[in-house]
């Protein structure tokens, strides 16, 4: 057993001990079957969907022989398990195939889209974490019914309003009527935030605000609920009873409320990283949602598969990160 020096570890902080290594390792191993499962689902759902990918590239009057040749060229004539294994082998090597529509590699299509979406997602998540957590804390710590009720009302509206509709309304107000912000597209600097100018930021504002609405509402509501629940617990009386300052009690409550909130934040972030088909289409933002939309519309199977897998892996990794973080904050999780 390590004996700590007096004076170290007195303030609260994340504890990283041997059990943490073990936990992280085990959690990492868990993600492998999950990712494998994702690849199987991605591979098979496309074969379950109606419509023939070959039909999209070939003219309608193509002869049966040409169809068969094309099928053979893409490997669509082989049994499904064989197709899956061959495909998986290539995917593991980083080769997601070639887009049927653009004839460019899937990776070269997906990578910039992921970057574009990430820029939007990080901005939106920054906004929603800031506002959602602030509002949630405000409502959770307030003893006044008015504050609590108005935050809850705001949160419910935020969660319920259809965000593509909100996006269009904002376009109408800020772009069409006020001419103050651009309606669509990215700024000239793209994702190179070092070269950002006012114009790039102005392009980001409307889509980021639109995307931030739902996570802000979700967070405000869950932070409020968690804080209120923790405040009702008996140990808060102990903290008051030993004469702690309000700031210190606040710290205790926040640390107790944090683990479930972090899980929610992780899910929200992962969802935003996936891009929003509707919002990116409304704002013509060239991200993954936009790409997925195009891939679906044109039945571009390799592109669709590649995009979905990349997004799913992001999702799994975000959850892994959140789980590890949660474990570091809450000692009780390490027991499990």
């Amino acid at each position: 057993m390590r004996k700590r020096e007096a004076g170290r570890g007195t303030r609260h902080k994340f504890r990283w001990d041997n059990r943490m290594h073990f936990y992280v390792l085990r959690r990492l191993l868990y993600t492998l079957p999950i990712i494998l499962g994702v690849t199987i689902v991605c591979f098979s759902f496309i074969h379950l969907a109606p419509g023939d990918p070959i039909g999209a590239v070939l003219p309608e009057n193509a002869s049966a022989q040409v169809v068969a040749e094309i099928k053979a060229a893409y490997g669509f004539d082989r049994p499904l398990p064989v197709q899956y294994l061959k495909w998986l082998g290539r995917v593991l090597g980083g080769d997601f195939g070639t887009s049927i529509m653009t004839r460019r590699t899937v990776i070269s299509e997906v990578a910039p889209a992921v970057a574009n979406t990430a820029l939007l997602a990080v901005t939106a998540i920054g906004l929603s974490f800031t506002f959602g957590i602030t509002l949630g804390l405000l409502a959770g710590f307030s003893n006044r019914r008015v504050t609590d009720r108005s935050v809850t009302a705001f949160a419910v509206v935020g969660i319920s309003v259809p965000h593509y509709w909100l996006g269009m309304v904002m376009v109408v107000i800020f772009a069409v009527l006020l001419h103050s912000l651009p309606a669509t597209g990215m700024g000239p600097a793209g994702t190179n935030i070092l070269a950002f100018t006012g114009e790039d930021i102005s392009h980001l504002i409307l889509p980021a605000l639109t995307l931030a609405t739902i996570p802000t509402g979700v967070l405000a509501r869950s932070v409020r609920a968690m804080v209120a629940e923790v405040r009702r617990q008996e140990f808060v009386q102990t903290l008051k009873g030993k004469g702690l300052r309000r700031g210190r009690i606040f710290l205790h409550i926040v640390k107790n409320a944090a683990p479930p909130i972090m899980a929610i934040m992780g899910l929200q972030f992962a969802q935003l990283l996936g891009g929003s088909i509707l919002v990116e289409t409304v704002f013509a933002w060239p991200g993954t949602g936009f790409l997925l939309n195009a891939a679906i519309a044109t039945r571009d199977l390799p592109l669709l598969q590649g995009t979905v897998i990349v997004l799913a892996i992001f999702f799994v990794l975000t959850n892994l990160f959140v789980d590890v973080l949660q474990t570091a904050v809450d000692p009780r999780v390490r027991r499990a």
Binding site: E234, F235, L239, K240, K242, R248, N256, P331
Partner: protein
């Protein structure tokens, strides 16, 4: 403080008020407590004993309204701001809770929870506070205390958790220790250890202590004086030995008769008929009236006063004088009371 009692409570009342109800849960409670003295609030659940104790440190929910006056070591607790109370909670009065699992913060180590209390009240560094926390854990006889400093509450057994809770309460050397059923949530074998520990620490440190319990055996074990509570009021107060020997109030007498002991083996245990009154629908006079064998018409005229009598005792019963004269068995007043 020359000659002033450590605790002086006068006409304390606590009401829980919200839009729909206004409920008086504690009423007409007055008592004094000197340094080093042990007072026990004895009563059933809902009799107001915990609320009375928590009122002393104003640890009540926001909808509670406190009336009367509470003086703790010269501080007027009822008139203080939350900020001023922070200085009282801990060094003047500290509290041990019934359920140590829920009363300790689950995501902070025991060491941090004790050390932060010391840091909050004294000008010491975290390192010094941690060293003090270690001493405190040793004082409450936690084995391998150095290792437990880094333990989280869920990693300790119930008994050790309660010891840690006691160490926490003692961390700022309080003049008054408030113990709210500190043994109720524990196994029977652990209960007596914790009880003995609290008693020996109380003697060693000379703390005044208020103990809340529903267990008359516990009261006899630790208390100098007891105050029996019923429906939010004291119904009988006095030295523990005298009350046990000759209870003056019919409720106390009923409590004592319904206690299990070796002498009642094989007999059917007596119980008080009925249940405590609904606080929203109190009887007109004596709250115990409807359950009392000696109940008479005069009892319903109004709430009887707490009638003082010989030996520093008092009883909230109109028949008080009679009962005492009839049952006077020359009970000597000893400060050390054992059953």
């Amino acid at each position: 403080m020359p000659r002033d009692p450590l605790v002086e409570v006068r006409d304390l009342s606590v009401r829980f008020v919200n839009r729909d109800i206004d409920l008086t849960v504690v009423d007409d409670v007055s008592f004094r407590l000197d340094a080093g003295e042990v007072l026990c609030f004895l009563g059933e659940s809902g009799s107001g004993k915990t609320v009375t104790m928590r009122a002393l440190l104003r640890l009540l929910p926001p909808h509670a309204r406190i009336g009367g006056s509470i003086r703790l070591a010269g501080h007027d607790v009822t008139a203080m701001s939350e900020r001023q109370l922070e200085a009282v909670r801990g060094p003047v009065g500290a509290m041990i809770f019934q359920e140590p699992m829920t009363a300790l913060d689950p995501v902070f180590t025991i060491g941090t929870q004790i050390a932060e209390t010391i840091v909050a009240h004294e000008a010491v560094s975290w390192a010094q506070a941690r060293a003090r926390a270690l001493e405190l854990l040793e004082m409450v006889q936690i084995p391998s205390a150095a290792r437990r400093l880094d333990a989280y509450p869920h990693e300790l057994s119930g008994g050790l958790r309660q010891r840690a809770m006691i160490a926490l309460a003692l961390s700022c050397k309080p003049a008054l220790l408030l113990a709210d059923e500190p043994t109720t949530a524990l196994d029977a074998t652990v209960q007596i250890q914790i009880l003995l520990l609290i008693r020996s620490l109380q003697k060693e440190l000379g703390m005044a202590t208020i103990f809340v319990t529903h267990d008359i055996g516990v009261a006899c074990e630790v208390a100098d004086r007891i105050a029996v509570m019923y429906a939010g009021r004291f119904v009988e107060t006095g030295p523990v030995a005298d009350i046990v020997a000759s209870p003056a109030h019919p409720y106390t007498a009923g409590l004592l008769r319904s206690t299990v002991s070796a002498s009642t083996r094989g007999e059917r245990l007596a119980s008080i008929p009925g249940g405590p009154p609904d606080l929203t629908d109190m009887p007109p006079g004596c709250a115990f009236g409807p359950r009392c064998v000696s109940h008479g018409a005069a009892c319903d005229a109004g709430v009887p006063p707490l009638i003082p009598f010989a030996g520093g005792r008092a009883s909230r019963c109109l028949l008080t004088k009679e009962v005492v004269h009839a049952g006077q068995g020359g009970g000597s007043v000893s400060r050390e009371a054992h059953m």
